[in-house]
């Protein structure tokens, strides 16, 4: 199903021409922003010198640090009266990053969500329960407006108690949810403990998960536990929030709406482009925003472009699920480790629960805490120590260092309400 078939299936040359036109408009808009004007005059670059996507590397990058330094409103490209809404990012350190929306930006962000929902078969007959945090976080309101645009009945549930979420799902026959993947796993456990079979007593059929990197195994686990289809999505506050890229029904990579964003993958160390199919840092330019477009924004998310067309007919290219952030890589005993590698190992072991914590302490000691699945318990201490060793061995094979593994009780590890806090670093290095 298409929300806007013509745009979504635009032939590549026409799509690239549209991108160029919008990029040039954006560059002219950015000349009003002192930060960008300074960058352009440094390089002597004129907007009309950018003739194709191949000229992108001539443009300057924008980084998270630039957004913080220009906080609160020094990157605003329109007058204050034209701003309709403010969102900020879930900054973990120091100042947040602020992003402004004009009326057209609010509407356009909803349009991109509507495309995404529609392509997986969501219609106005659906009941959409948004279980993401409302407020400054874009996952609440931006998604909400998109689902309303489709015509769904939207329940702005927000995150929070699972009892209340279940009640809403039962009483209003929720069919679609938007949820953090870690919370979806927790919620599935909650239903199991309550003795609620979602296939029988709920009307759920789809979930959109995002805002946290997660693995294919996690998706399958959520699908199996809730009996629904789960679609991955990608977005970031700096680029409207959710709605940058979503999966179609094929579930094989996320289509980036290239009429709104110029997509590049670069080597994070050198800034040079990498070829399609190779993993690198995703760099995005918002070319259809009024209030605060950003040029070549370094997302720090690692992914790759999936070469070739998609069976769904959309011409907008796809990216792989995010495999990590260039800044959440851990270095333990000289080895580079991404939390997603650990997740992949754990998710493939049914004796282990879905939640985990990586704890780093002392001089470089790594402990991975994993939850024992109640079904795997047979009362034998020996089997439990064997299981611990088995997990440690599988992690060693993946990571090249052998962590200590602690088996803990199911449900005892904290489930973060926002982005899951998986890593606790208390090292005295």
């Amino acid at each position: 199903m298409f929300w806007h078939q013509e745009t979504e299936t635009l032939a590549r040359p026409a799509l690239e021409a549209l991108q160029l036109k919008r990029l040039q408009e954006t560059l002219r808009r950015l000349e009003r922003v002192p930060f960008y004007r300074g960058k352009f005059s440094e390089t002597g670059l004129q907007p009309d010198q950018i003739k194709s996507a191949a000229d992108m590397p001539r443009l300057p990058f924008t980084t998270a640090a630039d957004l913080r330094e220009n906080y609160p409103d020094k990157l605003l490209a329109v007058s204050r009266e034209e701003v309709l809404r403010l969102h900020t990012s879930s900054g973990t350190t120091g100042k947040p990053k602020a992003l402004f929306f004009s009326r057209r930006d609010v509407d356009n962000a909803a349009e991109l969500i509507a495309r995404a929902l529609c392509m997986t078969g969501v219609t106005r007959r659906d009941v959409f329960q948004n279980m993401m945090s409302y407020g400054l976080f874009t996952g609440g309101l931006v998604m909400h407006y998109g689902a309303e645009k489709v015509g769904c009945m939207v329940i702005p549930a927000g995150p929070g108690t699972s009892e209340r979420q279940l009640l809403l799902m039962q009483d209003f026959r929720t069919t679609v949810i938007h949820i953090l993947p870690s919370y979806a796993l927790y919620f599935a456990d909650f239903l199991e403990k309550k003795g609620v079979d979602p296939r029988k007593s709920l009307a759920l059929r789809k979930a959109f998960v995002g805002a946290e990197p997660h693995t294919e195994e996690t998706r399958r686990n959520i699908e199996a536990a809730l009996g629904i289809d789960v679609y991955n999505s990608y977005g970031l506050t700096e680029m409207n929030g959710p709605g940058v890229a979503f999966e179609c029904e094929g579930k094989c990579g996320m289509h980036v709406w290239e009429d709104n964003f110029v997509l590049e993958i670069i080597n994070p160390a050198t800034g040079e482009p990498v070829e399609d199919g190779k993993t690198g840092e995703l760099v995005l330019t918002s070319i259809n925003r009024e209030a605060m477009p950003l040029l070549r924004y370094r997302t720090r998310d690692l992914t790759s472009i999936i070469p070739g067309p998609c069976a769904c007919g959309r011409t907008h290219r796809r990216i792989h699920r995010i495999t990590g952030r260039s800044d959440d890589m851990l270095i333990v005993r000289g080895v580079n480790i991404f939390p997603q590698q650990i997740e992949r190992v754990l998710m493939a072991m049914p004796q282990i629960g879905r939640n985990y914590v990586i704890q780093l302490e002392g001089l470089d000691d790594m402990t991975v805490k994993v939850e024992l699945s109640p079904a795997a318990f047979d009362g034998e201490v020996g089997h439990l120590t064997e299981l611990q060793n088995q997990v440690a061995e599988k992690l060693r094979a993946e990571l090249w260092i052998r962590p200590k593994v602690d088996l803990v009780a199911s449900g005892s590890l904290p489930v973060a309400e926002g982005k899951a806090k998986r890593v606790i670093d208390k090292r005295s290095l």
Binding site: K193, L372, S373, P374, A376, F377, D378, G379, E380, V381, L384, T385, D406, L407, V408, A409, S410, G411, S412
Partner: protein
């Protein structure tokens, strides 16, 4: 063959974990007759002989504990020196390995609770040698 059901429950090795288990059992009005804890580093397994093992296991599972029921054999011995040796010797003679073992003596009776791979086989052998194997009911009323 008479066997006795124990409730086994997984517990992390940190303060307050036993209290969470005993609170759950107290609420379910479970009477505990015997308890052992085997710990291994970060975690341990608690095994309980209780008046209603099915109810106790359900109550623990409902609270999110990993709990299961295990079949073990309870052998009565005379409460005097060398009694335990006669049981151990008998099992050794039949090449039966004792996994976890515990025992208690009360009211001039001595009971040995043993986990073996095949409770029916071990119980049969002990019975042939004249030992009394307790039923669940007998084990609870010692």
């Amino acid at each position: 063959m008479n066997t006795v059901k124990l409730v086994a429950v997984f517990a992390e090795n940190r303060p307050g974990q036993t209290a969470r288990i005993t609170e759950t059992l107290a609420r379910a009005s479970i009477n505990i007759r015997c308890i052992t804890v085997a710990s291994s580093g970060a975690f341990g397994v608690m095994k309980l002989l209780v008046n209603d093992p099915d109810l106790a296991c359900q109550a623990l599972k409902r609270e999110g504990f990993a709990a299961t029921l295990m079949d073990v054999i309870a052998v009565e011995m005379s409460d005097k020196p060398g009694a335990l040796h006669t049981v151990a010797d008998c099992l050794a003679a039949h090449d039966i390995n004792l996994a976890n073992t515990s025992g208690f003596a009360a009211n001039n009776r001595a009971i040995l609770v043993i986990e073996v791979q095949d409770p029916a086989q071990a119980g049969g052998i002990l019975k042939e040698h004249g030992f009394h194997i307790l039923t669940q009911q007998e084990a609870l009323t010692v």
